[in-house]
């Protein structure tokens, strides 16, 4: 039984209420309203068009791909897609905002209400599956970047990010613990990566969260919330919640009140503090951007968006369990990341083809290989392994040899080690390195005949009903065969000969 997350205060238990606004950079080559590139890591201000620098008379023209990706993301969270939406201007002055306004969507966002499932995870303290409501997704411009440590009296402005498309994904205040918030961000990231609408790279800032936290006594009304801006890892999101919740409880229990304010997280100390620069920016004077007409989506466009959606994590996981017969654990592990299931499905298809059996028949073997055997070998080799040698083709042929009984599990590992180091063909390795099981009944029969002849007493005991001795004979035979005999063949011949 997992206990509900509570802050233990002097006056009793407090419940934490969390809502997240996740800013996800839309995967696109060009910016939302200009043709400049979105590539990460360029020299300052080299990916800035006259539009992004807000030169006089410059105008925005929206990028279809950004709209398409927002719609596909909305579909992936089963959300209402608004065929009519508008861009609004959010007006405020800041050095990273060249236009003096951010083009965003307040009144008519492109995506309405949707939802996302986070799964029970006892270890993390999530007692059961939980559906988290999503309020909306809207499309907006990213701001530029300020650097404060390059000059004693000046901050430097780089506008490379200015105008890059973001999706702001706004959850409902449905989360009640740091663990739930962490699971939500991970699941959202997974969906975005499945859909291909965001690369989910939190280190490069492709995904940041504004974390809204408030506390209340269980059953009471929502308390006043604070918003901690631009938190860029799952761990930090959880830290912010932990810190903010405890801070707010302290303030309230000491007779204070919580200000509805914007805060900043300091990863070095794990604390949050009031953000000075945004203090007076409350009145954003939103109004529809007169440079842009309403965005009206055609049915054909929506159909294309839907048709291009891949199988999503929840559906894939269910299918892995029901159709492929994988364990819930394996299904979850394999579907968590795009790369993992991608490699798995490629290997599964190659292995099934090689063996000539349906995928469902070999899925468990492939899953075990992909989740534990192969990574184990790779890890043990360290730098000696060349990941480029880990082709699906090579792994499939190892798995096929194993399936046919030509090699043992141990031999499979040994072969894979050599393959990873050298890139040699696995079958050739098995042949030339003597890494094959002997299924030649003649050789095995000869060995067994010797063993029976030399162990007459044990044979007598076995035949007298001491079944346990069968293992002894197997062991002796394998030893005689230097471990290379096919165990199934050995068993069969032993059974025949011992009677």
């Amino acid at each position: 039984m997992v206990s509900t997350y509570r802050i233990q205060g002097a006056t009793g238990e407090w419940e934490v209420v969390i809502g997240l606004e996740v800013h996800a950079q839309v995967t696109s080559k060009a910016k939302l309203f200009s043709g400049a590139s979105t590539a990460f890591g360029a020299e300052p201000n080299t990916q800035v068009s006259l539009v992004d620098a807000a030169m006089p008379g410059m105008l925005p023209v929206p990028n279809a791909e950004c709209i398409r990706q927002a719609v596909r993301t909305g579909m992936a969270i089963e959300a209402q897609i608004n065929k009519y939406s508008r861009f609004d201007r959010k007006n405020y002055f800041y050095a990273d905002l060249p236009q003096g306004y951010q083009i965003s969507q307040l009144y008519h966002p492109i995506v309405g209400e949707g939802q996302l499932l986070i799964e029970a995870d006892e270890k993390a303290g999530i007692a059961e599956d939980k559906v988290i409501g999503i309020e909306r997704i809207h499309v907006e411009q990213d701001a530029g970047k300020l650097m404060h440590d390059q000059h004693p009296t000046m901050s430097y402005v780089d506008l490379n990010r200015s105008g890059v498309a973001l999706m702001e994904i706004v959850s409902k205040p449905d989360m009640r613990s740091p663990a739930e918030a962490g699971a939500y961000v991970r699941k959202l990231r997974s969906i975005l990566r499945y859909v291909g609408s965001c690369d989910g790279n939190m280190e490069e800032g492709s995904m940041r969260a504004d974390v809204n936290v408030s506390v209340r006594k269980p059953g009471e009304e929502f308390g006043t919330r604070t918003e901690t801006k631009n938190v860029n890892s799952v761990r930090f999101v959880m830290q912010v919640i932990e810190y903010e919740a405890n801070r707010q409880v302290d303030v309230l229990e000491n007779g204070g009140t919580i200000d509805q304010e914007t805060r900043l997280f300091d990863p070095n100390t794990g604390t949050t503090r009031t953000m000075r620069s945004k203090e007076d920016a409350h009145d954003y004077r939103y109004f529809p951007d007169p440079d842009l007409l309403p965005l009206e989506l055609e049915d054909e466009f929506l159909e294309e968006c839907r048709a291009s959606l891949p199988e999503l994590p929840d559906a894939k996981r269910a299918r892995y369990e029901t159709e492929l017969g994988l364990t819930p654990y394996n299904a979850r592990e394999l579907t968590a990341e795009v790369e993992t299931f991608g490699r798995f499905e490629t290997l599964l298809a190659a292995t099934a083809a090689k063996i000539g059996k349906p995928e469902a028949k070999v899925a468990t073997q492939v899953a075990n290989w992909a989740l534990s055997v192969a990574p184990g070998v790779m890890k043990s080799l360290g730098d000696e392994a060349d990941p480029a040698n880990a082709t699906a083709e090579a792994q499939a042929s190892i798995l096929a040899m194993q399936d046919k009984g030509e090699i043992s599990g141990g031999q499979a590992k040994e072969i894979y080690e050599i393959v990873l180091k050298t890139g040699r063909d696995p079958e050739e390795v098995a042949d030339t390195e003597g890494l094959k099981q002997v299924s030649d009944t003649g050789a095995i029969e000869a060995a067994i005949d010797d063993i029976i002849a030399n162990n007459a007493d044990k044979v007598e005991e076995y035949r007298g009903g001491k079944d346990k001795l069968f293992g002894f004979f197997v062991g002796q035979t394998m030893k005689a065969m230097q471990g290379k005999a096919n165990p199934a063949v050995v068993n069969q011949i032993l059974k025949d000969k011992l009677g």
């Binding site: 006259l50 620098a53 807000a54 030169m55 006089p56 008379g57 410059m58 105008l59 925005p60 023209v61 929206p62 201007r89 007006n91 002055f93 800041y94 050095a95 060249p98 236009q99 003096g100 306004y101 901050s155 402005v157 409350h282 009145d283 004077r285 939103y286 109004f287 951007d289 007169p290 440079d291 842009l292 007409l293």
Partner: protein, 497 residues
């Protein structure tokens, strides 16, 4: 100045284009004549800067093409004045403001590029009301523009109208055969009327806004200002056209407006909006309106009464919508990336903004930014901005209904003739009322034109306005042509500069 120069500066767009093409004179001769006329006319203060070399280079290119027998373009050999709201590559672009003083764009506005591509050259950047906010050309940081017109028997400096006042003054003074204008709430038509010239604001979206310093995005439209309807048709053809860089640009072919000109208005119905009979409208204006009806009837049109019931509310709606958009459009002038920076000792970023904008914007611009900021601010959005946009819908609907009964609408362009500079400065509201007849068509995005009708008792020009259906610039031009042919407006300002 060569002998022919004076004759050349009396020519308009069509005559210059045809004369250059026909070999009557070279484009260079034309450019030199106008450059000289511009240089002599400093007293008008019509230009913020002059660019004689640009005009000459364009002219030489046209002459070279002619020598090779190539097409000279729609505006081949015509030097024009460029309102200083259009960004011109390598040439200072200020919007008549201090905050953009010295700003040299690395780009060319689509409209000006279209004109250069059509063979036109640039005489200089024309003065205007600062950021196109004004109706008298008294808000420019670079000083008032003096109209070439004066009241009979008076030396008082008169207003050329605004905001395209440098344009109207230059064209009326014959120091430019034509000029670009922009019209947000009458800024082409009102100065055209004040200066006795012709100007058309096309349907919203015909001319690209890319590279035009924005005032109010949902209203701004560029258009030509010249001395005849034909010249406007030619120049508009060169300026207009679809632009993928402007999301509100109309994806339509540019009609052959010049070729389509016809003053025969048989089977056309011209609507007379009864709500335009407003108090405070000059008697002589009303008289010229009556005269206009007669002219159009004479051209074969049927005159019908129409109603535009929300006319009264158009101007107040405009003075919410336009400042609101402007307050946001002008936020980019912050001293960070271009233009003026005022950085007092020890100032932080936000102090720098406030100091720069205080120093860089004129009073009228500040006034409108404050109004716009206020009407968008928390708690007031619905009462002001949203309500104004609803009224705008109603104004637009009025026109749509009226166009069920008529093909075009005839009205005065302004309620009065030009006034002396400085005479209306006490009260912004009185100044705003200048645009009472012009603003409704702006709110509805409709094509509208002013053509000179007559001069009043003081010898000052009066204009008549034609408003057409969306995309029907041809109908507007044709009705304008019918008036032009009958008005036979030959008055011109006596040269005092």
């Amino acid at each position: 100045m060569p002998k022919t120069a004076n004759k050349l500066t009396n020519l308009g767009v069509k005559d210059i284009r045809d004369g250059v093409a026909g070999g009557d004179f070279t484009a260079r001769e034309v450019a030199e004549a106008f450059n000289a006329a511009v240089a002599e006319a400093a007293a008008l203060n019509a230009f913020i800067i002059t660019t004689p070399d640009h005009a000459l280079a364009a002219a030489d290119a046209v002459d070279a093409k002619r020598a090779k027998g190539e097409d000279l373009g729609k505006m081949g050999g015509v030097p024009i004045g460029m309102k200083d709201l259009f960004a011109t590559r390598g040439v200072q672009t200020t919007a008549a403001s201090h905050i953009l003083e010295g700003f040299t764009p690395q780009y060319e506005s689509t409209v000006s590029q279209n004109l250069w591509d059509a063979g036109a050259g640039m005489l200089g950047k024309l003065n205007l009301d600062q950021f196109a906010m004004g109706s008298s050309n008294e808000t420019s940081y670079f000083g008032n523009v003096n109209s070439p017109w004066r009241k009979e028997g008076s030396n008082a400096a008169m207003s050329p109208g605004g905001s395209s006042g440098g344009s109207s003054a230059a064209v009326a003074a014959r120091i430019a055969p034509a000029a670009t204008g922009t019209d947000t709430g009458g800024s082409i038509r009102q100065p055209a009327a004040f200066a006795g010239i012709t100007g058309i604001k096309p349907t919203y979206g015909r001319c690209s806004r890319w590279g035009v310093v924005a005032f109010a995005s949902s209203l701004d439209q560029a258009g030509p200002m010249a001395r005849t309807v034909e010249d406007c048709a030619i120049m508009l053809e060169a300026m207009a056209g679809f632009d993928p860089k402007d999301a509100t640009s109309l994806k339509m072919d540019v009609p052959a407006w010049e070729a389509g000109l016809s003053a025969d208005l048989k089977d056309k119905r011209i609507g007379i909006p009864r709500e335009y009979r407003m108090e405070g409208t000059d008697e002589e204006i009303l008289k010229s309106w009556e005269q206009g009806k007669e002219w159009l009837r004479d051209a074969g049109a049927e005159i019908v009464d129409v109603s535009l019931p929300h006319t009264k509310y158009a101007l107040p709606a405009y003075y919410i919508v336009a400042p609101a958009e402007a307050s946001s459009n002008l936020a980019r002038y912050d001293g960070v990336r271009y233009g003026l920076r005022d950085l007092p000792d020890g100032a932080g970023l936000q102090d720098m903004y406030a100091a720069t904008r205080a120093e860089g914007f004129g009073d009228e611009v500040k006034r409108r930014i404050l109004i716009g900021t206020y009407v968008l601010s928390a708690g007031f959005y619905d009462a002001y901005y949203n309500q104004a946009q609803k009224v705008r819908t109603l104004v637009s609907r009025d026109f749509a209904e009226a166009f069920g009964q008529c093909d075009a609408i005839l009205a005065p362009t302004t309620p009065t003739a030009s006034f002396p500079l400085g005479s209306l400065n006490d009260d912004p509201l009185t100044m705003y009322l200048n645009d009472v007849f012009a603003v409704p068509a702006s709110l509805a995005g409709l094509p509208a034109m002013s053509v000179p009708a007559t001069v009043n008792a003081d010898g000052l020009p009066l204009g008549l306005q034609i408003v057409g259906k969306p995309f029907d610039e041809q109908g507007v031009l044709n009705a304008g042509l019918a008036i032009q042919q009958r008005a036979n407006f030959t008055a011109k300002p006596e040269k005092w500069w």
